[in-house]
Structure formats: structure tokens, C-alpha cells
Symmetry: C2
Subunit: 423 residues, 2 copies
Amino acid sequence: MQILDAKDFKYERDVETGTEQQLTAVMSIINEVKTKGDAAVKSLTKQFDKVELNELRVSEAEIEAAYTKLAPELIEIIRDAKENITKYHEKQKQNSWFSTQENGTILGQKVTPLDRVGVYVPGGTAAYPSSVLMNVLPAQIAGVKEIVMCTPPGQDGIPAAILVAAKECGVTEIYRIGGAQAVAAMAYGTESIARVDKITGPGNIYVAIAKKMVFGVVDIDMIAGPSEILVACDEKATPAYAAADMLSQAEHDVLAAAYCVTTSRQQAEEIRQELAKQLLELDRNEIAKQSLEQQGKIIIVANREELLAVINDIAPEHLEMMVEEPFSYLGEIRHAGAIFLGPYSSEPVGDYFAGPNHVLPTSGTARFSSPLSVDDFIKKSSVIYYSKEALKANGRKIVSFANEEGLDAHGKAVAIRLEMEGL
Amino acid sequence: MQILDAKDFKYERDVETGTEQQLTAVMSIINEVKTKGDAAVKSLTKQFDKVELNELRVSEAEIEAAYTKLAPELIEIIRDAKENITKYHEKQKQNSWFSTQENGTILGQKVTPLDRVGVYVPGGTAAYPSSVLMNVLPAQIAGVKEIVMCTPPGQDGIPAAILVAAKECGVTEIYRIGGAQAVAAMAYGTESIARVDKITGPGNIYVAIAKKMVFGVVDIDMIAGPSEILVACDEKATPAYAAADMLSQAEHDVLAAAYCVTTSRQQAEEIRQELAKQLLELDRNEIAKQSLEQQGKIIIVANREELLAVINDIAPEHLEMMVEEPFSYLGEIRHAGAIFLGPYSSEPVGDYFAGPNHVLPTSGTARFSSPLSVDDFIKKSSVIYYSKEALKANGRKIVSFANEEGLDAHGKAVAIRLEMEGL
């Protein structure tokens, strides 16, 4: 684990865009699904997942059966988490609005939920029920009526916790397909899957490339890169907590990055020792160890200003402010996906339970993007009711503007009204 | 101009994605700019725009000079339009918010403007000052501090109206570069252009492909396709107005689509005659004529339900409700970029002047996307302050959830606090 001074740190983190070979492979999968529909989906599933599919759709009976396989306490925890996530996301709902003018003009903005969305849920070791909650609940709260879920069939079927989470959150259709073929099926539709308007959810590089390729045909959420955490400490922070939270990111993936930024060199050493000690107790210690060695860094800063500069430079997905008076930093933190304040706000609190979404912008994209939210499942329409009086007052200016742009039919559309109405 | 019954109408409108050749050309331009910076930008400008560039950046003196070339009335109209657009977009601003719980927990969402954005403004016959207003003002109102504009150098320089509009709206830097090379320069940065966080603005197919390719490195707005209008009429609508508004779209581009949907077959005939008559008077009548013949359609519907079904099927960029009681339809209109209500709300009113944005989702993408707005120039960060009491109450549930997902370091990050704090 490298300890270095802020002046020796340069943030470089590229967004993974896929090799030429991966791009070609995905393009061909998309074209196959687009042209051959269900048949292509089935043969690709056989090829990649080694599963022979009959029914693409998961039946109600299978979903009901999943409940019997899950510990009742876990079902209760899923319901508790759902309640917290629902409460938080309810506050993101936006109203349609309008404003009126005395001449009768009304201008406004209508908010409408999307009709139909698709959520991708990865399979294998990355089968996370929390991912179902975090992707589906914002759509459901936005008012989306049809919520489709696609997830790989798996050699042993779809994990029960995934099916239960989907049912609890109001998913309306579940299909046992994964990979780029699932993305293509949701974007273009097949005989048995109607096309959706937006696709969200994490996935491997093939899923990410496929989402980028169908972007425009449908909307997508951000392309997720590896997970990151930055734990910002002052002298008072508890090294054991900083280390534990860094490890909770590092265990995700060898590419996951755990950063610590601290004003104390002595503390940096203590955190390094804690990391070494706690690492030994982890199930996924090989992954976490590699991540720490290759991606992890402890950065020493001279003062608060330098601390904030490193934070805004990295624009971390998860930012923990393990400092005194953490709220006092909020105004100066410009870029972060989620900001965890104080010693008890360990990152896993946000991953599962507190309420905010765990789908966050990675790899520095917090510079321009936001956590997944209800906003992602609505769209807006401008509303314009121009009165006769407003047209009389402004019509000639609009005609001049149109003529300046060399678009005379635009001008004439207004002029014909001025003339015929005698304005 | 085709008149047909709703039952014979099937909406098909593909999003243009570019040929293999175009994709390869753009990929190579992006790589050149990424690796060679300013030198590549200059040589590509020489190649494509036939202009030898010394200074990329437009000087303050050139911007000042532009004011002397523009009619004072036009400057006034630009200022009036700016005022209306500003007033409307001010209402889109969102507040940061937080909520508190009795156990001390605070959850919230922080709203922060983007640091630096780039606006692309096309050159040539498509040099529209209104496009500057509509792209720049939402960014400026959102609080973006650095707003960069790129526009092709042009054989006769950049049009004065473009420079004046940019200055009026608070653009902070203007560069005379266009095409895919401008998009690449803004996304990756060069020696003289610092990289931006988001790129918006219309452009030709090369610009559109480049934006899609850099998406992820920076954010982009929607890829704009050809313009569309749908004029929805009942028996009382004035055929001359419907025709004039359809022509205002048709003159944009031979690919622009003007649809009329009406409950009256007789009126459909009258609109067709009006179109033929008004077409003769247009400067751009060749373009408008081709557009009407190839893309235009008048669709006859039996009743209000069918009318709404066609609207929601097409999901038009511009929708005009030239019907009695237009507001009564609002709840049932699910997909439209901008909705113009009543006989005086001619589409050009919204293009230039009323206040709402004219950057709207095209080609059916109103199913999932929104007009350009202040929302596009802010991002959100979740804020989580978990109290000791909340951790005590919920910590064990969080540990169980983490263990269910096989992420024990996540569980341990919470467990270590429960233990060390004696919770």
C-alpha cells in the first residue's frame, strides 16, 4: 500500500471503453438479436451461458417458490431496506409546473414517467439483491408502469434473493437472459419481449458496450466502471474504521480503488497497519489485497485546502468525511457520488440500507453525473400556450429573428396569423 | 403530400447511427486530436474547413467588432429573447435538500453546477444565434462558471450574430473550430483548450458520432436527429395555420418530418391545398417540398382516442394542439418534446422567443428524454450522516445483508464499529 504526498499524486483513471474485438463481438450479438429475435437470444444463451432455454420469462410459480428458499429474516431485511430506499426516493419526485402572464400566456413543464424500462441484473458471483432494490425502486416511485428485469439463467437457476427482491419492488416481468443479448432484446424487442424505453443496471464489459451501442435507440444510465472510495481523515479519525471502509471497496474487484487522504503522516502509517491486519480476516482477501496494492493509495496532505483539492480532483464515487465538523466541508466538495459524513456513516450503510441510491458515478464521472434517482425514470415536456395578445406584442420580433436566421417559413408561420387576425 | 387513415399509418423512424466509414473517420479524428492536440486540430481544420488557423481562440476585440456589424434592432431582439429564456429556465433550478430523523440521522441531496461545459454551434447555413441562446443560457443559469463555445471558422469568419449571442449569454471562451475535431478537443483537451465536463449542441452526422464516441469521458446531451412537427387538429382548426406551421419544420431539412393528424377528411384536403399554395412563396421551397413529399403525412383519425394514440406513437419533437380546449388533452399526452396549445402558439414562438428551450428530443426519443434544461448542467451528490443511534438500531441488519451478498468486508466495516463502540 503506497503512502505518498499530495504533490506526488496525479489522478489518472480512464473509463474502460472495450477492445476492438469486444466491440465487434457485441455489434454482431446486437445485430443477431435485432434480426432474429427470440431464436438468436436462445442460441446466444446456449453459447455463452451453456443453458438451453425454453421459456424466456420466469413464471409466477418460480417467483413464489423463491420465497420458500430464503430465510424469513432476510426477507424482512429486504423489506426494511425497501422502506428506507422508498422514503428517500419519494423526496426526489418532481411536480409539473406552470407560470402565467397577465396577457394570458401560460408556460410550463409537464413531468411524465417513462412507459417501460428494463433493469439488467448481473449473475454469477455478482448477484446482488441490493442492486435490484436500487435500480427498480426509483423507477417504481417515478410511476413507471412496466418494469422488466433481465438476469442470466445461471447453471442453478436465478438466485432466490434476486427473485424475491424483484417481486418486492414491483418488477412486472422477469426474463432469464444475460449479457449483450439481454441488452439488445430490451432495446429492440423480440417476439416475446417488448422493447423498453430505457435500460439501467450494472454488468460486465460486454453489457457496458452493448448499452453504449443502443444508447439513442433507448436511453441508458451511466456506464459503470470499477468501484471507488476516498476516505478523508483528519488527526482525530479512527484508523481501524478508515481501513475497514477501504477494504469494503477493495473486496469488490481487483480494479476497485480505495484511497485515503489524511492530514497526519502518523495516522497514515496506522491505517496501513490496520489494512494489513484486517486483510487477513477477509473471505475475499486475495481480491482486496491486489486491489490495495495496485489501485490503493494513502495520500498525505498539508491542510484542509489540499484535502479538498485531492477530493475534487478524484471526484470519487464514495467519499467519506471522517473529520471533525464534517458538514463544514459540504460547500467546498464539488464532485462526489455520495458523501458519507462522520464516523458512523460507513459506506455499506449506504450500499444497503440508509435510503440513498448505491448506483453512483464512478471513475471521476461524478464531475458530471448523479446517483441513479427518480429523475432517471421521468421525462419532461415543455408546455406553451401563447395568447393572442402575446402574439400581437411579440410577433414581429419573432419574424425578424426568423429572417435573420434565413428561415422564412418560420417567419411566415407567425406573419400569417398577424395578418389573418388583424394583429 | 400523402393523406392516409390512421389504420394505414405505421410509425417508423430510425435514429441515424452513421455508416461504418463515417465511424472510422471520426474515430481517427478523435485519436489524432487526443494524441497530437492543437497541431491535429489545425491540420484537420485546414483539411475540412479549408482555413489556415493561427489563433484558435476568438479575441475580445473580434467579439466587440461583431456588435458593429449587427443591426441594433437585432441586438435588442436577442436581448428580449434572452430575458424570456432566462425567466423560464430560472424556474427549473433545483434546491439541495435534506431530511432529518429523530435519531440524528440526516439524509439529503446536494445540487452542484458542472465546472466547465462546451457548446457546439454549427456553421454554414445552419448558423443560428437562437441555438447559442438555447444551449448557453441553461448552463449559465445552472451556475456553470466556464462555458466554452466551438464553432467552425468559416470562409468569411464566424457570423456576427453568433458572436454577439455568445457574448450576451456569458460564454467565457470561443474557439474557431468545428466538426468532430472540436468535439474531441473539448472532450480530451489540447494545449490551448482545457477539457470540459459536458458537451451540448447540434451538429452534422460527424459531430453526432463524435459526441456519442466521447460519451462517458464527458457527458453529452441527446444526439439530435432531423426535426419533426405534429399538428393535431379538430374540425375547428384553421387550415392555413396548420399548413404554415408544417412548412416551418419542412424548410429545415429534406429529412425533417411534418405530420398533421386531424379528425376531418375535408380539412385534410384544405390543408393539402394550403401547403401547395404557401410552398410557392417560400425561399427554401425546394427543401420544404422534398421534405413534405418524402416525410410528410396527413393522417385521418376517427376520434379523440385515435388522435392521442397517433401522438403517443410518434412521440413528436414539436406537438401543436390546434384543437378546442387544448388543455383537456394534457393528461393523455405521454410523449412530446414541446406541447404548443391553441391557435396562437405557432412553433416558431417557441423556437426563438417564448422562453422554453428549443433543444428538444427528436425521432421519437421524447419517449425517454427531455428538452435541454438547467437539469443538464447540474449534478447531484447523495449526503448521508448516519448517527450512532441509527447504527446501533440497524447495524446488524446491514451486516446480514452484506453476508447474504457474500461481501464480508462490507459487513465487517459495520461490525467493527458495533464492537469498538460497544453498540
